[in-house]
């Protein structure tokens, strides 16, 4: 169907305009009880989200199956503008938050999706407003940046939440002034890579008391509110951003002997305040944002989504959002291969409707039957080979897994993808997990089988648990 549509589209360009097998399809607009500003995919497949500003202490859980929202017990303080990550045991670590505009809270909490309860952890060294959480190979979590207050500025002290001891480790030899919500990644060598939005890039070694090493500079310059993703082990793409938004896109391969940023294809639309989402077939979906120079410029909304192909570096224009989703909007991959797009801040124009959500179904969901997974382990260790039952084994060309996402303010602090090795087996596939926890730190991953038509299965959720299955770090 996609081939026929493409051929028809080359003769009659308008023919592709609404063909979902080519441009995908957004659902009807759903009314939500708030503007989703933070969204975290839980191991049970539901989405924990919360709104902005004064409503930041009122989280909800959205069930993609029933498409219903349910209020969650409040953590007791405002977690808007905090950071979040899903720990190896499935609990959500939330650091920082909002006590006033540009003023952070020092709180850290765990949300347990099983019991629905909150646990207060020891406070961080200072308030953090706009920090970033990054999970380490051993399951600990590094918190970087975040503004203490306008008077005290950004917190320059990275801290490591040590899961086993329940204490903070201060990286006192790694103090540095970082931008808010720094785009941090666990690199293949076990260090953290600061990709943006400012330059230069840097590496953070979290051993002991920590240290920074300077890295390469992006070609374009600062990309404020330009999203980035790690689209393969050690390969990062950053797109758009800037005060006058750009359409340019850059990539870097941290596996190279001397990694350097270089341009890949540009989006059709300049944009900032967009979201970038990894898809099961390895492509990257960019949704929302503004092409205007004002901070959250709803007068220049970018409605069409765009899809980046990392193999070719080319972008394809997808279907359009129905409302402007810029600052304070989110996008999140769901286990069924669709993408949640929700929230935003603007509510002052007919172009905006922040208390809503819509679901994007990528073109692959209109390109034939989906492969199915009939069995998969619930928990494995790094480097382990495991059996995945499927009646479609002979037709599978890709096996991927994507870590559960946790997104806010343009940056998904958790999503990462690995392309897994596999071989045919009776009744299914033997699949091998990444060999190192540097490539897949402890936590939960959506396992997808992708067939030769590019159609993914619904995901099976697999926990990487090296404490049970052996521990391989660097």
């Amino acid at each position: 169907m996609a081939v026929l549509s493409t051929m028809l589209g080359s003769v009659c360009p308008w023919a592709n305009a609404q063909d979902p097998s080519v441009v995908g399809q957004f659902s009807v607009l759903m009314s939500w009880p708030g503007n989703a500003t933070h969204a975290v995919l839980l191991p049970n497949g539901k989405v924990l989200w919360w709104p902005s500003f004064a409503n930041g202490g009122k989280p909800q859980i959205w069930d993609p199956v029933s498409s219903t929202n349910t209020a969650v017990t409040s953590p007791g303080y405002n977690i808007f503008c905090g950071a979040h990550s899903v720990l190896g045991n499935g609990q959500v670590l939330i650091t920082g938050g909002d006590s006033a505009l540009n003023t952070g809270v020092a709180n850290a909490s765990l949300y347990d999706p099983v019991s629905g309860s909150w646990t207060f952890l020891p406070n961080m060294n200072a308030g953090r407003w706009y920090p970033t959480n990054t999970v380490l190979p051993n399951g600990d979590v590094v918190v970087t940046s975040g503004e203490i207050s306008p008077g005290l500025g950004v917190d320059p002290l990275p801290q490591v939440w040590q899961v086993s001891s329940g204490t903070w480790r201060d990286l006192t030899t790694a103090q540095l002034g970082l931008p808010l919500y720094p785009e941090m990644y666990l690199a293949p060598n076990g260090t953290l890579f600061f990709a943006g939005p400012t330059l230069p890039s840097r590496y953070l070694n979290t051993d002991g008391r920590g240290s920074w090493t300077i890295g390469p500079r992006m070609q374009y310059g600062p990309r404020g509110y330009g999203p980035s993703v790690m689209y393969d082990n050690g390969k990062i793409m950053i797109t758009g951003g800037g005060i006058a938004p750009t359409a340019t896109t850059e990539i870097i391969n941290l596996n190279d002997p001397v990694p350097t940023w270089r341009y890949t294809g540009s989006m059709a639309n300049p944009r900032r305040n967009a979201n970038a989402t990894l898809l099961p077939d390895g492509t990257v979906l960019v949704t929302g944002g503004t092409s205007g120079a004002a901070f959250d410029d709803y007068t220049h909304p970018v409605f069409p989504a765009e899809l980046w192909n990392p193999t070719t570096g080319a972008w394809s224009t997808m279907a359009s959002l129905s409302v402007y989703r810029g600052y304070h909007s989110v996008a999140l991959l769901l286990p069924d291969g669709r993408v949640l797009s929700a929230g935003g801040e603007c509510n002052t124009s007919p172009l905006c409707n922040r208390n809503t959500a819509e679901i994007f179904s990528p073109p692959y969901l209109f390109n034939g039957p989906r492969p199915t997974i009939t069995s998969a382990p619930t928990s494995i260790g790094s480097g382990q080979t495991f059996f995945v039952g499927t009646p479609d084994a002979a037709n599978i060309t890709q096996v991927t897994w994507i870590r559960l996402g946790a997104v806010t303010h343009t940056f998904n602090q958790e999503q990462r993808i690995s392309f897994l090795g596999f071989s045919q087996a009776t009744g299914g596939l033997n699949v091998t997990a990444p060999p190192s926890a540097n490539l897949a730190p402890p936590g939960f991953y959506m396992l997808f089988l992708v067939n030769r038509s590019g159609v993914p299965s619904v995901a099976s959720n697999i926990q990487v648990d090296n404490s049970t299955h052996g521990h391989k770090h660097k």
């Binding site: 320059p156 006192t172 030899t173 005060i243 901070f295």
Partner: protein
């Protein structure tokens, strides 16, 4: 809410309101005039943190919205907002204190760490080293004798320090 009114207040309002029309201070309605100090970059943000005791100079930091391109500044009515730059190889700086001589203190990124700085118009920005063996330092205030207070950070943690004539020593016990 205060409702009293007087001729003197009317005069004060006019004194403030007339220059406001001309781009000067605005009347805040609570006995204070408010003056915008501007920003280093168009469309950017700025934060004032400290003012010398004679009210001539204000220091703080200014950058693009939400933390990009942050630079320390010193502001005066006659010169406006001045970018103090960064230490060599840095990409971030912020000022926290200024004395009556116009000497400014704060911190700046270097390529691989953060260091306290002292700045004056004649010599520019100079680094204030941390304690021996430490890697980072920050400075928050300077008095009219030129003494600077801040902290040094390293493998032993974070320790308050005073720089006197740019010679570093840990705080006397009475200050700890």
């Amino acid at each position: 809410m205060r409702t009293d009114f007087s001729i003197s207040k009317l005069i004060a309002m006019l004194v403030v309101a007339i220059p406001c029309v001309l781009g000067g201070p605005a009347w805040a309605g609570d006995g204070y005039a408010v003056v915008e100090l501007g920003a280093l970059r168009q469309g950017g943000s700025s934060v004032g943190r400290h003012m010398d005791s004679v009210g001539g100079q204000v220091v703080g930091s200014s950058g693009l919205t939400h933390g990009s391109g942050t630079r320390a500044f010193v502001w005066s009515a006659s010169s406006g907002m001045r970018d103090l730059g960064t230490l060599q190889g840095g990409d971030y700086s912020e000022a926290f204190g200024v004395n009556d001589a116009g000497t400014v203190v704060g911190d700046s990124n270097t390529p691989e760490t953060m260091r306290a700085f002292v700045w004056n118009a004649r010599e520019g920005m100079r680094e204030l080293s941390p304690l021996p063996g430490d890697s980072a330092s920050r400075a928050f205030a300077i008095n009219n004798s030129g003494q600077i207070v801040g902290y040094s950070s390293g493998k032993h943690g974070v320790r308050a320090v005073v720089w006197s004539h740019f010679e570093l020593g840990t705080l006397p016990s009475r200050y700890r």
